[in-house]
Amino acid sequence: MKSAGSNKVVPLLRALAVLSAVAVIACWLSLGAHMGWSQTRVPAYKTDPITETTFTDYENRFLPGLDFLGAGLLGAAAIFALTLLIPRSRGEKLQ
């Protein structure tokens, strides 16, 4: 029973790692592929029609940056690395 469970965990974790990496990349790309730090306030540039003064307004929304992408991919890599630590042979011997 135990060995069968271990055998299923490895592909599951690997699938989770790949899915996480894909989801993180997709999220980063779809939300603007911002090359700087993640932002929680996104600047929007406007011009006052009366004085013709340009000013910045901030929209409160999340814009993932390279830190988000890096942390996400690192997390996915950590999950994948974990699968390498699970001994396969032990499960096979127990069978």
Partner: protein, 206 residues
């Protein structure tokens, strides 16, 4: 005696007339248009942000800009950068210490070098006392002054009558001059800070 009285009357008339031309422009901006943008360009990181919490007033005769006196203040805690962690660091005790130094101020000491650029637009050279992080330094900067008579009604949806005064200026300061972590983190936070001032004052007429 009669001649003396006439001279005094003329002097008083000139004085009153002179005072009547001086307008007091309030720089508190409920519309949120006035702003001071700041930019730091270090080798590893570029930081851009704005400050909008403006207050203060300037007294000036729009026909003679050298008469300008006054003080403009920016609330330190109104400084915004898009990254929340960066903003937290910026306002912290180690950087701008917003709690102990709640305002960044500029007090006009002298306005000179007035050069007309248009009917109501002039370029001036302003000398003033700039205070940041509890340190005050003299700054000399060029500024464009745009006087907009009778335009307050438009910007206040007809609530008030009066004039607008737009001040635009770009100048640079060094954080080391104001003891903001001098010589530290120069690869990520540049010493030189470029400031772009775009502020609007309103003089209400009754």
């Amino acid at each position: 005696m009669k001649r003396c009285a006439s001279a005094v009357a003329i002097a008083v008339a000139i004085l009153i007339d002179g005072q009547a031309d001086t307008l007091s422009f309030d720089f508190e901006d409920p519309r949120g248009v006035s702003n001071v943008a700041f930019s730091l360009d270090a080798p590893l990181e570029s930081i851009q942000g704005t400050a909008k919490g403006l207050s203060g007033s300037v007294n000036v005769d729009p026909t003679d800009l050298t008469t300008a006196t006054g003080r403009i203040a920016v609330a330190t805690k109104s400084l915004v950068v898009p990254n929340p962690l960066m903003r937290m660091h910026l306002l912290s005790k180690d950087w701008l210490n917003a709690r102990s130094n709640p305002q960044i101020t500029f007090e006009i000491r002298r306005v000179a070098g007035v050069r007309k650029k248009g009917a109501n637009t002039s370029e001036v050279v302003v000398t003033g006392a700039f205070s940041l992080n509890g340190i005050t330094k003299e700054i000399i900067a060029k500024a464009d002054i745009i006087y907009m008579p009778g335009r307050l009604a438009e910007s206040s949806n007809g609530k008030f009558q009066g004039d607008l005064l737009v001040v635009r200026s770009d100048f640079k300061i060094r954080r080391s001059d104001f003891r903001v972590r001098p010589g530290e983190f120069l690869d990520k936070v540049s010493d030189e800070i470029a400031l772009s001032v775009n502020i609007i004052g309103a003089a209400q007429k009754l």
